[in-house]
């Protein structure tokens, strides 16, 4: 009984050790890959020369909350003209050729969302294109 317990303890230690080693190796590999530029990054095209309503780092992190907060104010409270406006985003960021923020992985919204595999719900209802009469592009390979 004692010998069996000891065997089991040793085995579990070996397995844990291997696991830790594997994890460390993975971390090292991914870090090296990013440094070496082997990790694909989203390639969105931002053609507008103007400044966005906030710096890119803040926009990347906070734009879902900005939109979620503002939509309550716009729809329920009737607040217009806020600097947080989906239509304003689209007007500024729409692709020059297609006029849309979706439709290709270089398009502004779809590019990053496709990369991060986060489904965009907005364009079921909101018009993603600044030229609504143009043929509507689909969300393509959106998750």
């Amino acid at each position: 009984m004692n010998a069996l317990c000891q065997q089991r303890a040793t085995l579990s230690r070996i397995v844990s050790g291997l696991g830790l080693l594997l994890f460390a190796a993975l971390l090292a590999v991914t870090a090296r890959a990013q440094e070496a530029g082997r990790t694909p990054k989203p390639t969105i095209i931002i053609e507008s020369q103007q400044h966005c309503i906030a710096p890119p780092e803040r926009m990347r992190r906070e734009h879902p909350d900005m939109l979620r907060h503002q939509r309550v104010r716009t729809v329920h409270l009737g607040e217009r003209g806020s600097k947080v406006s989906l239509n304003a985003c689209i007007e500024c960021h729409a692709d020059r050729q297609s006029g849309s923020v979706i439709g290709s992985d270089h398009a502004f919204c779809q590019g990053c969302h496709s990369y991060a595999a986060v489904h965009i719900d907005c364009f079921d209802c909101h018009q993603p294109s600044i030229r609504p009469s143009a043929p509507r592009l689909t969300l393509g390979a959106m998750p």
Binding site: V75, E79, R80, S82, C125, P132, S133
Partner: protein, 247 residues
């Protein structure tokens, strides 16, 4: 934003000029000045105001669909599916009185009730009444259960049965959500009136009046105070913001 200051002031002058001209040429009874000025950025809808409409069946013409066409155009309601399933935010109803045989025609749309049954029954609170009385659907919360469609006495709401791609930028709407007349809230918020009222005025019939029911000096309030009018299904006690004359 990047235009030179000189161009900006010229644009402003043009804007004022157009507004003044528009105020002159629109049919009598519809004066732009009646309507609230566009709300300032950041200003919320006010509970002091209650938007309403008055529809005169005596002036509404059989066969005229100016209001319906304007609504379809303004809100992007193009649809080619079965008429049973197609959204209709406003429709012309032909009426014939039982017994007397008197005929009339009126447009019917969301009545923007003071006590909306649709708001009561919505499980997520997506159907709501804004501070200024406009009853709307918040499509961020709508789950498409259609209970509000069952509850509405006026059959004001439509369900979107198909995928939409040609939405207007100011009127987001999508598959699986319920929708209805918004009183052109996007136009009201910039100081205009609903598209149907404007189209009716331009059609020379002038059967529709829009304005602030809470403002005793507004044209609509003055008319309602002097002339008899009625709400549809007044027995239900919903106090709609849309009133009718001649039916």
């Amino acid at each position: 934003m990047s235009a030179a200051p000189q161009q900006n002031s010229r644009r402003a002058l043009l804007g004022v000029g157009v507004a003044a001209a528009a105020g002159l040429v629109l049919a009598p009874g519809v004066r732009l000045i009646e309507l609230a000025q566009a709300r300032a950025a950041g200003e919320l809808a006010s509970g002091q105001v209650r938007w309403g409409m008055l529809i005169d069946a005596n002036r509404c013409a059989t066969g005229c669909t100016a209001c319906v066409d304007a609504c379809v155009n303004e809100n992007g309601l193009n649809s080619a599916i079965d008429l049973r399933q197609r959204p209709q935010w406003i429709r012309k109803v032909e009426l014939k009185q039982v017994g007397t045989g008197r005929t009339a025609t009126v447009p019917v749309m969301c009545q923007h009730c003071a006590e909306p049954p649709c708001v009561d029954v919505c499980p997520t609170g997506a159907s709501f009444k804004r501070a200024d009385g406009i009853v709307l659907v918040d499509r961020h919360s709508c789950i498409g259960c259609r209970y509000c469609m069952m509850a509405c006495p006026y059959k004001a709401r439509s369900f979107v049965h198909e995928t939409l791609t040609q939405q207007k930028a100011e009127v987001p709407r999508g598959k699986g959500c319920v929708e209805g007349c918004t009183l052109c809230v996007h136009r009201i918020d910039r100081g205009q009136g609903p598209a149907c009222v404007q189209a009716c005025a331009e059609s020379e019939n002038g059967a529709m009046v829009f304005g602030d029911l809470n403002d005793p000096g507004s044209q609509i309030a003055q008319r309602l105070r002097v002339q008899a009018s009625a709400a549809l299904r007044a027995d239900l006690g919903l106090e709609p913001a849309v009133r009718y004359q001649g039916v």
